[in-house]
Each structure stands twice: as C-alpha cells, then as structure tokens.
Symmetry: C2
C-alpha cells in the first residue's frame, strides 16, 4: 500500500460538511468518488476532523492508502481534474503507514471572518450601515449588531490556556456525525482543551479571529465567536468569559455563529 | 407614482440570469418578489440589460415605479432585509418619470476575470500549474491554457472604436430571452457598437479585462475574451482580430468564455 497525506482547500457552501452521508454532497464522499474514478479503489479518506455544513477549509488534511502505484504528481493532477472546482488538492506528500490525519494531528488553527455592518455605539441610522458584497457573503458572517472591536479582543484573551470548554460545546454533541475535535489526544469524555493562540485582528474591512488549539469540540469555535460577539454588542461584558467557562454549561454562553464565516486554516503534525 | 433608480450588486452563481422565468430563480424575479412583499405591489423592475446565468454584477441598474409612498431609506433598508445576501441594493435614488434603466443607458462597463494557471510558453510540468482557490473559483475563469499576457493586450487594442461585432455575437441570438445589449440607441438589426475602452491589466494574480462601450450584443464580452484567449494561447495571432471583425461571421471568432468570470461593473447615464 502507498500512504498519502493530502492538503485540501474547499468552499463548504454547497456541501453537507466533511463526513460522508448517503445521498448528500459531502467533501469526504466527493473525494472518495474522485479516488474511485481514478484508481478503481474504494476507500474513505480520513480527515483531520469533521467540518460542519457550510464551513470552509484553506488547508484541511486527509490521509489515504492506495494499492495503485501512481506517482504523486499524476495523482495530484488527476484529482484536480476530476474534483469539482469547489475542492482543490493543494499538495500531496508520501507518508509512512503510521500517519493518520486525525490521530497524528497536534494543533489546529481556525479563522472566523466577520463583516461588521456597524461599530458600537451605532452612531448613524441603520440604513447607513455598510453593505456586504454578495461575492463576500458566502465567506463571512454579515453581522447585524454594532460591534465594539476592543471587546472582541478582550473577550478572546480569556480563552487562552487550558480550560474545560463544556460551555462552548454543542449540547448532546453527536460525536459520531459531526465533531471538530481531534479527539485522539484527550479522553473521550473530556472537554478540556488547550488554546495556544486566540486573537482578533482587522483586515480589509473584516474582523478576523484566529485560534490555535490542541483540538476543538463540536461547534466550539462558532460558540466562542457567538459569545465574543455578545460582548462586542454589549449584551454581556468581556469580563464575563471566565465565569462562562467556569459554569461548564452551554446555556451560559452565547449563540452559535453562522458556519459560513469559519475556515479551517492549518493542521499541524509532530 | 414614485420613480426609483436602484443600483444592485449580485452574485450570479445560483441564478438563471437577470430575466424573470417561470419556476427558475432569477435576479429580476427575486427583486420583484421582494418589492411585492414590502409594498404589496406587482411590478417588474427594468434592468439596464439582461445578464446571463452565472454572470455577476457590481453595479447593475434597475428602474421601478411604485404607488406606495415609502421613503428611500426605508425602501433601501427593507429590500436588503428581504432579499437574499446574494443580491444587495447599493443605492436608491429618486428619478424623473422619463428615466428608464435600459433606454436611458449611454455606456456600460464590464470586467472579465481570468485566473491564469500557467504562462505561455508552459515552462513547467502542468502538475506545477497554479491552483485556483475554491473561494475564488465562482468569480473567475480558471483558464487551463498557458497564456501570453502581451497577446491579450495586443488583441484587446483592436476592438477599440466603432465596429460591426457580428463575429462576436451569439448565433441566432434569442433577443427576447438573453441580451447584454442596450438596444435602444441602435437599430434592432445593427450589430455596430462603439467601444471606448478595451484593455487588460494584472492584479492579485488575475488577468482583468475592462471594456466600456455604447452597448453590448448577446455574449459579446465573453466571445471577445474567448477570442483574446485563443491569441494568448497562440492558437491564433492577436493580429487576426481585424480580419475576424471584418468576417462578420461568428465562426471566425473563438469560443465563448465561461459566464462565471464576467461582471457588469457600471452603467452610465446622460
């Protein structure tokens, strides 16, 4: 068998997430179909983690094992010819048998993109809010609340370090169907994760949140962003974040931010 | 009646073009439905011209007449609340009764965006071609041919001025269903148009074609680009363009470039 590490970019808009599902377009299923068409082999690529419906990837990692002896450059070229333009293979590398896209992952980075319609406090009539370009809309949360950027920054500071993220995890998470976590390095029942980097910056009129962690629970990034936005809209205080973490209760945190603003940016391996 | 000029941006990806069609999503139909929902009135907004399925707009112009006495700011706000995010109203202006988005248009500007995978001559294996981001793909032609930028520039120079564009017009154009032209200022049977500006430039790794004219025939911009690309891929010479124009025969020109790369950028009025 030949073992490969694929790095993939995809536009999640028209897919029902990563994981293969009967009669629904998914990234994993589309990739499996392309591999079958090229090699005749039936296999399921293993992703570094599942992404939800509508979530995008700049560099998702998948591992595959093929019996067919096809050179890397030929496989790369063939995949990008067969796959829809909404999925691109960026790189293909030969890896050892013990490489597994999910089990071997050590750190992951996500980016969340907000289009701020207005600043807090809203000094102008809502009719004068900024208008989000239709060409940008599939890739951002066109946020209707006036946002205080400093509050986003302050709120994001509180999640750095090792915490129990129960409050930011989907209630009754269906771990078998959707899960952003790289669950290998932590016991199944643990909601403890380590966040190495958590910060907001501004670029091209967008508010961008970058978060790097040991792993992420289902909806964790979107629930963090939804809660940070509650602070930025002044419905809670940024200083409430430690109490929300301590509550270990999903209802203590804010709503789930829309999928369309979320990008899986990088998966790092040992 | 109150007469309004609307400036619209839209992502054409998921629409069957501008013109209303039964049981198909169109820009005109979606806008009419939004106006009906807001005012209760049934009317068909008049566009500056039709855009084909998959063609985008940064500033399409539409004219409407409403009996409802609704302030501009309220109408603007309500439309952007009711419309899908793939259509945005950028501005609303009160106009006189004799303003008509199509009849009053004097000049139009289109932009065509190409993602060049490789330069001509292709010096590297095709497996090393640039890879088009899935997030960019709906808005460019991910062109598989190696392109000579200088040939694009030279070819574009030849169409400036007043010419008969029969060679660049869809064969048997169904003028009633799809038409990029502002047909008012020229006799119906004429394929003569004046091009004021026609040039390529490079930006952010893309090749961008800007063309401003008195009006455009059905598929004209996409046929021009498809022919320029034939020159850039060295299948014809840029110097063949005058002969192609003189032939007044669609089969003399190149293929129609994909819709997804085309943007209606501006409509100018007297």
């Amino acid at each position: 068998m030949h073992h490969w590490k694929l790095t993939l970019a995809y536009d999640g808009t028209s897919f029902n997430g990563w994981q293969v599902q009967p009669n629904l377009p998914t990234i994993q299923g589309t990739l499996a179909a392309a591999l079958h068409r090229i090699t005749g082999e039936t296999l399921l690529p293993q992703g570094s983690g599942r992404t939800d419906a509508g979530v995008h990837a700049l560099a998702q990692v998948a591992s595959i094992s093929l019996a067919t002896p096809i050179p890397a450059t030929n496989l790369h070229y063939a995949l990008n010819r067969v796959l829809p333009q909404s999925i691109r293979v960026l790189t293909i590398e030969s890896v050892s048998e013990d490489f597994h896209a999910r089990h071997s992952a050590r750190r992951k980075t996500y980016e969340y993109r907000i289009f701020p319609r207005a600043l807090y406090p809203r000094a102008i009539p809502p009719t004068l809010d900024r208008i989000c370009s239709p060409m940008l809309a599939p890739y951002v949360w066109d946020c209707p609340y006036p946002l205080d950027f400093a509050a986003l920054e302050n709120a994001a500071d509180y999640v750095r370090g090792t915490h129990d993220f129960t409050s930011f995890t989907a209630v009754n998470p269906d771990q078998t169907s959707r899960d952003e976590s790289t669950s290998s390095e932590t016991p199944e029942a643990s909601f403890v994760r380590t966040i190495y980097h958590s910060s907001w910056h501004r670029s091209d009129g967008l508010y961008l949140y970058r978060v790097t962690g040991s792993g992420f629970l289902h909806h964790m990034v979107r629930n963090l962003v939804g809660t940070f936005v509650e602070a930025a809209a002044r419905r809670i205080s940024a200083d409430d974040i430690p109490g929300i973490l301590a509550a270990r209760n999903r209802s203590a945190a804010g709503p789930t931010a829309p999928a369309r603003g979320l990008f899986l940016v990088e998966v790092e391996y040992a």
